[in-house]
Amino acid sequence: MMADGIRAVTVPKWGLSMTEGTVVAWYANVGAQVKAGDDLVEIETPKITNLYESPASGVLRRCVGKAGETLPVGALLAVLADEEVPDAEIDAFIAQFARDFVPAMAESGAETVRPQTTEIGGRRIRYLKMGEAESIPVVLVHGFGGDLNSWLFTQPALAQEHSVYAIDLPGHGGSSKQVDRGDPAFLASAAFELMTALGLGSAHLVGHSLGGATVFELALSHPEHAKSLTLIAPLGFGPEINMQYVEGFMRASRPRQLRPFIEQLFANPALVGRKMLDDIISYKRLDGAVEALNTIAGTIFKDGRQVVELVTRLADLAVPLQIIWGESDRIIPASHANGLPESVLVYRVPGAGHMVHMEKAEEVNELIETFLHGLNEQ
């Protein structure tokens, strides 16, 4: 039974594989007034450590999850309530929650969404759909060596108001590993074929890094299917690229060899969990994965520089565009967003590296949501 004015804060589920999280530190003290969206608690998962923002407002009456404690998804973390709710009611609420709580068994939850695959032109493409809203759909496209799981913090947030499709590009994740020439135009055509097969019509396109260049190409070749573009640390806006990262990523065959390179993706390397490394190594072991990455890298990089040039084609782009960059990006420098035309919205996020949408997820989600809202109102 839910007492009036008492709100449970529970362990969130970030990504498909998360079953439990460990409380690292609380960012608010018991007795403090917190607002929805305030930093509340840092949670470590086997994959990544992230700040959890308060899902509601109220006085933080109890921190049930103690620092260092590991709790299943859905378990009670904290209790928010108004000041006037008596302590006895809070205690009764916690006791009731503990009696009723049944941890979701891995795989059994009916609400667990799973990626799907579809065959298009002899090619298998994997994607994950979240959200059922009737509004214009959103398509998320990951970067070089990534997959749909890199949107684990983005996709659930955007799915509140949109149907959101995160896709695996050819050569990546659970999609076929044939990549033809491996250039963004080819990747864009594969993404477009999937959009067509799913009957998406026009969508808001969001792309990270190589995925940014991919959705840019898609919007150029099929402007009627792009409602807007959000590019996160995109490829194609300048010549610099951290080839030491690219080569290290390609070479590493064990999690421990990979770690120093994956840490370069974040401003705060301590966020990288073992599972993130294991997942990348598992991907690289798939037949054809490393060959696909080699083909792509050989096409988009030459002599330690980026080959793809999008910035010169900005004038041809007929859709609203925003660019988001982590200020501390060590893979593609944020300075690539300097000097762009005024029609382009540019946001630099402090304290974030190349994976800005994972590292500062709430800020990036808000930028995207605000951008999409603004377009709807026009």
């Binding site: 999690p255 072991r285 798939l286």
Partner: protein
């Protein structure tokens, strides 16, 4: 990606490699289902159902039931491998190796060396090992140290469904004879396993837990127990690294030595009989190459030097378990 059992993961690996390469064939007792006689096809798919469904896809030319004569069919598999096929032969129980050891030890393991590299033997022998199934002394042994002792053989001992699929695909693609040892108590274990083909390299150990206090080396089914022990120890503020070497030969010496240099403490878990087993080999390695890093005497968790008992009570007492590993780790912590 879906959850698959150890049994399904192995079946998956066989199926994908048979589709990829027409030279890959399967042979063994009951792998098709009729002991070489006319009977219901695919009735069993091997004694524990691992090869089920393969004969219907690939036919009886490529999924061959053999007579109950390991001497004959393991020998035939060595010959087939030397002359262009890539056979996966199933030695139902590792305990039966006695009657075909010459074919493995003197033929398969030696041909490449004795012909100066002009001959190869791309043979995989899949075999079931280990105690726990109440199968008594002649069907429960962990004889992988015998193969590890023989130069020219590669010895693979997978610890989970994901590992089994990737290592078996790697084994089938290898040009040398590989002994692929499957613990019979793991077949119903499940985890996420990609649908696609992937291969895990030999000689690369895997950390299943990472910690700075104690290094626990375990292989095959013992990895599961070592993980359980490490998780319990974590609640007592003892942080363990658990290393699964994956392959007994080649052995990833570097990873084990590096870890012991970090922790200074070593526990090795082995289900094989305690004399001249994998644990004594690893302990000798550390004693010779990282002795000065040790903060405490090394510890071995292994069964007693007896046949595997049939009595369930005695068998349970015989097999190393998480509690014994935990106690050993606490003892080396002092």
């Amino acid at each position: 990606m879906a959850r698959k059992s150890f049994r399904e993961a192995i079946n998956d690996a066989l199926r994908l490699e048979m589709r990829r390469d027409p030279r890959v064939i399967i042979m063994g007792e009951d792998v098709a289902g009729g002991m070489g006689a006319a009977g219901e096809q695919d009735a069993w798919g091997g004694v524990l159902g691992v090869t089920k469904g393969l004969i219907s896809e690939f036919g009886s030319e490529r999924v061959r039931d053999t007579p109950i004569s390991e001497s004959a069919f393991i020998g035939a598999a060595v010959g087939a491998a030397a002359t262009g096929l890539r056979p996966v032969a199933e030695l139902m129980f590792i305990d039966f190796v006695g009657v075909c050891l010459d074919q493995i030890l003197n033929q398969a393991a030696k041909l490449r060396y004795m012909f100066g590299g002009k001959a190869t033997v791309p043979l995989v022998i899949r075999t079931m090992y280990g105690a726990g199934l109440r199968a008594a002394s002649q069907h429960s042994q962990s004889l992988y140290p015998i193969f590890t002792h023989i130069p020219g053989l590669k010895v693979v001992i997978p610890s989970s469904p994901y590992e089994a699929k990737g290592l078996l695909i790697r084994a089938i693609r290898d040009d040398d004879p590989v002994i692929f040892c499957e613990h019979k108590m793991l077949y119903d274990e499940t985890e996420e396993v990609p649908d696609e083909a992937y291969s895990i390299p030999f000689g690369e150990a895997n950390f299943t837990r990472e910690g700075e206090d104690v290094t626990i080396v375990a292989i095959g089914r013992m990895v599961k127990f070592a993980n359980e022990a490490a998780d319990r120890l974590a609640t007592r503020d003892v942080a363990c690294s658990v290393i699964d070497p994956r392959t007994a030969s080649p052995l990833d010496e570097e990873t084990i030595l590096d870890s012991v240099k970090e922790t200074g403490r070593l526990v090795v878990v082995d289900e094989a009989s305690p004399r001249c087993n994998l644990a004594t080999d690893i302990v000798a390695l550390v004693a010779t190459k990282a002795f000065s890093a040790l903060k405490a005497p090394v510890s071995i968790v292994a069964p007693p030097h007896t046949p595997v008992p049939f009595s369930p009570t005695l068998e349970d007492a015989y097999v190393p378990n998480a509690a014994r590993i935990e106690a050993a780790a606490l003892a080396v912590m002092g």
